[in-house]
Symmetry: C3
Subunit: 453 residues, 3 copies
């Protein structure tokens, strides 16, 4: 198999982006965005180092994990700049691009990276590009609907990014998996990690863990931003302790499992997301972290096998456990918190957090501002709508991929050799014996050759 089929699409899509930037692109004049630059860089690291290396846990898919994260990310951030811009064109029908647009594009890319985690190893580059193209359109529309039309509060993107990306990706994964012959034994063995690949993955985990407060706080200022940082930090810390305990409790040999440490330690960041800027209080953040850590590990141990075997939804990185359930949990939490939010507790912040509750706010053909209960209802609506849209459009995307693209053969799944030149010099095509030597030469340091002068 080669990556030949993808050359023209890549060039075509980049030229199309060029034309769109030509027609619509303009520099932003909001120079005060510069204050967000350090947090933008933190988020930038999360998308490309965080997601990229987190997915290198597969022992023979490290090149693809980090490489496709870079490739797909480079495409979708450009496309997200445009798609998000179409929803807020300025007076001249131009899209203003500045530091704010860049971090919003990075956040949009996060949803695609999450979906990538669900289908990782079983998709061609062309399929990833089509998926990313559709997903960014739907993401932008759904975020606009939720945040701007419905005025749903989701500071850290747990609903619009994490839950959306996870269920979209799982729906794609479900459709692509249907009526497929059994997995080859090769692919099954390649779905494992090895010692080195697990350590590479920890680079991704730890950077995601460290910079998550920036992800949840980047859109905020003042006391809201400070609360988001504190809540996320505490939720992650409590989640980590709990995830280790749950890992030891729920695994057969009662030892820690790297999969849980790589992923479930992060669930607290997702779960804090939609409530990050709310007055959870430190204790609330700790509670959220504990629940998220336990739910996530439980998901890996008990739900993932069922999801794959019974429902036929493979989930390579377990995004359901890291982004899906914790995202929904965060959405539900945001409903509860909205229902009990009082002006007494939030002071003037209340109207920054929930603009639709502002006295002179005009929305939905009503002159009265929303009550706490109404805001809670809208939070629930936003979560529900997001889940429905994610699943439906994900299924449609899956069908489009099945109908229009060639699936990669089962024996080429989870294998970098499918897409990458691996020490080609010593591996003549079709020569199995030489193929083995080439493996040897590529995957290990060939000590004997190297030492003889």
């Amino acid at each position: 198999m080669s990556t030949k089929e993808v050359v023209l699409p890549l060039i075509g899509v980049q030229l199309a982006l060029l034309i769109l930037f030509c027609v619509f692109g303009r520099y932003s004049t909001h120079e005060e965005d510069a204050a967000k630059y350090p947090m933008f860089q933190d988020v930038h690291v999360m998308i490309f180092i965080g997601f990229g290396f987190l997915m290198t846990f597969l022992k023979r898919y490290g090149f693809s994990s980090v490489g496709f994260t870079l490739l797909l990310g480079a495409f979708v951030v450009q496309w997200a700049l445009l798609c998000q811009g179409f929803f807020r064109l300025d007076g001249d029908n131009k899209i203003e691009i500045g530091i704010e647009s860049l971090y919003k594009a990075d956040i949009a890319a996060a949803s695609v990276m999450i979906s990538l985690g669900a289908v990782l190893g079983r998709t061609s580059v062309l399929q990833l590009f089509i998926m990313g193209f559709i997903e960014i359109v739907v993401y932008s529309a759904n975020s606009y609907l939720g945040a701007t039309v419905l005025r749903v509060a989701d500071a850290g993107g747990s609903i619009f990014v994490h839950a959306f990306g996870a269920y979209f990706g799982l729906a794609v994964s479900y459709v692509m998996n249907r009526k497929k012959e059994g997995n080859s034994e090769t692919a099954v063995s390649l779905q494992e990690s090895n010692y080195t690949s697990d350590l590479f993955a920890m680079i991704g985990t730890v950077f995601l863990w460290l910079y998550w407060p920036s992800f949840n706080a980047i859109e905020l200022t003042g006391a809201e931003q400070s609360r988001a940082v504190v809540n996320t930090y505490l939720a992650l810390a409590a989640c980590t302790v709990t995830a280790f305990a749950a890992s030891s409790l729920l695994t057969p040999e009662r030892k820690f499992d790297m999969v849980h440490v790589q992923n479930s330690t992060l669930a607290g960041g997702v779960a804090a997301g939609a409530a990050a800027n709310l007055v959870l209080l430190p204790v609330g953040a700790v509670v959220v972290g504990i629940l998220a850590g336990f739910v996530s590990v439980y998901g890996y141990v008990r739900l993932s096998p069922t999801l794959e075997r019974r429902l036929g939804v493979p989930d390579t990185c377990g995004v359901h456990n890291l982004h899906g359930m914790p995202g929904v949990f965060s959405g539900v939490l945001s409903v509860l918190m909205a229902a009990i939010a009082t002006q007494n507790q939030y002071k003037l912040d209340l109207f920054d957090v929930y603009p639709a509750r502002m006295p002179d706010f005009k929305i939905e053909n009503s002159t009265a501002p929303r009550t706490a209960a109404q805001q809670a209802g809208f939070q629930a609506l936003g979560l529900s709508v997001t889940l429905v849209i994610a699943i439906v459009t994900g299924l449609v995307t899956g069908f489009i991929l099945k109908a229009t693209t060639k699936a990669i053969p089962a024996k080429s799944e989870y294998d970098d050799a499918t897409f990458w030149e691996l020490c080609e010099a010593s591996a003549p095509a079709g020569d199995t014996k030489a193929g083995m030597q080439y493996d040897n030469a590529c995957f290990e340091v060939s000590t004997t050759d190297a030492r003889l002068p």
Copy 2:
């Protein structure tokens, strides 16, 4: 061996933290802390990526190194938020948590990570938790005594963090090592690094090296902060050149030794610490770096073997050479610098650096401010008290660990298999032959299996 014993303690401790946060936790209202956020994130990276990966140099202890750094760190930052908060409760007996508290908690965690480096590979998770629990209490009390009561100036924490953490950890290590049967050959062979593990460790080293100026400058503002950045940068650069020279000079084959490069290149940051904000002048910072680099490499080559064999103090990561001696050196430097500090040289900064020298400062039942000599005396007192407290409480902690917990067997030391599920599918317990295959499958890419369809 399993990690079963640790499940209940982990859950229990996290629930206890929850209750304490419920009773005492409150959001800080100091929004101006936001300016410290980028430096906070640098320090955050140092603790979890820096220390975590630096310790992955052990060839079979990478999961534990980076995993336990995350687990232990997640616990101790929460505990440090509380312990440090108890020393500055607000009017309502509440602890205010904001960005300042978070970076102070991270800095406290650094002391535990340093102690972890001394005992790495020979402790159970439960032992690490107990050690971290006690150490944070003592750290908080000692820092309060030194910085607030005695008004000792230690901007970069060389005394209160580095020297404290190192001698506390070495004292624990000493007690735990007593009356132990000889090391098994397995453990000895596992105390080595391999090529890949040494490269992973360099990720930790370089991030520590890069962000160290933030560590030394985070508590400062204005000219003091700028001096701390410049002094630390220069000390690290001079230290690095010197450490390479010393490494080649002092090793038998006259080649560079990775241990020195991973560790001694950082000694300049420790040594600059307590004097980081002082008017060392660029030349002074370079002198400090040169001395620290040489002392640290000398320690690795000459003192560490003696320390272990003669005194019975094992020191897995050589924290005595990276944090212990350079920390004491920095403390002594702070005595000398305090003795010669004049208002002429520091201008108004003098009273920011040494508040007890301010004309109207009331301290120790005296109406007169401290003289330079008196401040120098207090610096010496702070250093001495810290060393005594670290060693005594470290010894006590060691005895507590010996008395209350089960030591891990010598043959399970330095081995991730003791705590982690490693490719359990292919490794039935008790089947030695299968065990070897499982090793093979986990630690190398099993090329033959993977290629046959």
Copy 3:
């Protein structure tokens, strides 16, 4: 071979730096530099993590790649602080050192790291030190000539850093390669990467990719800075998509090649450099990225073999394709952009971007400010002068290295064993068989020994 020869030079050079800092060093009083601190740290990561790990792609040269980056970087930043300072001594003949000087020193170090990439694996530490010593002198003089005397605009350093560093390094490489006996087979085999080393290299690539906007924007403020961030981000994204397409298009098996992904994805950052702060518009940045990505991959596939075989210029990391051609391309772009820059388009920024066009600007004994065409001419002059200076001084440096230092034997090239102690305990010198075992023990996890109690 040992590194004995380098001990005295290292100590001597560090003591010489000490004396120079003593005579000339002073703290800067420009505290407003603190606002640049986060971008400084981004650039800092690029130099030491970015370049350091990017070069670890060589399978047996990882210690040297990341270690020598640290060592050489630690030396040249000190030397650059002094050399750059000599061109702007203050009234007392002192050099002011503050955060601005530190990031300027880091940027200077980038030029040396680029040259290092050209000669990597074929030079001794002493040679690298001599090269770095000379290069920083020439770099400082050339940058002063170009930026201050000729008023050439090069915000991202494409001309003065990237093109300069690449052609200087290639010239050194050319001279050092002359009249050398054929490469040993060992060295040839060691010029390859393996699976793990390629993943380590991606750590460098991705951090360079992420922080490149900081590199191009750090010297700027306001709208210029914002444009530089947007232009660089878009150029890198477009470049990445194009580089993957070109990689698949131009490689024999039509697959992606890690070399291109590691390097050519970054060419957009170089190419945007000299025009980063200009009104390229988003579409212009995308065009620049597309061209850079294609040119860079084309260079790796078609030009590099020619360069080495026909012209005798080995280029270990392909710096000609990542820094050389894209740097020249950026310089040419800066000529064109200068020629069409109008005050209408730039508003008041025009005089920040091109100070020599300011109405009351006195330069070159003329009372009239430069026209757009004149500025374009000066851009072309700056580029040409830089290339001539880089090549001539690089050739001279090569001759100096050949004349004064001992070359490392061909069989010791690209091999960490030449400089580093590798598991010396188990490898008695001269015992080939033991040597093989030692390789085994160092480069793989020796599973059998480790499992038997």
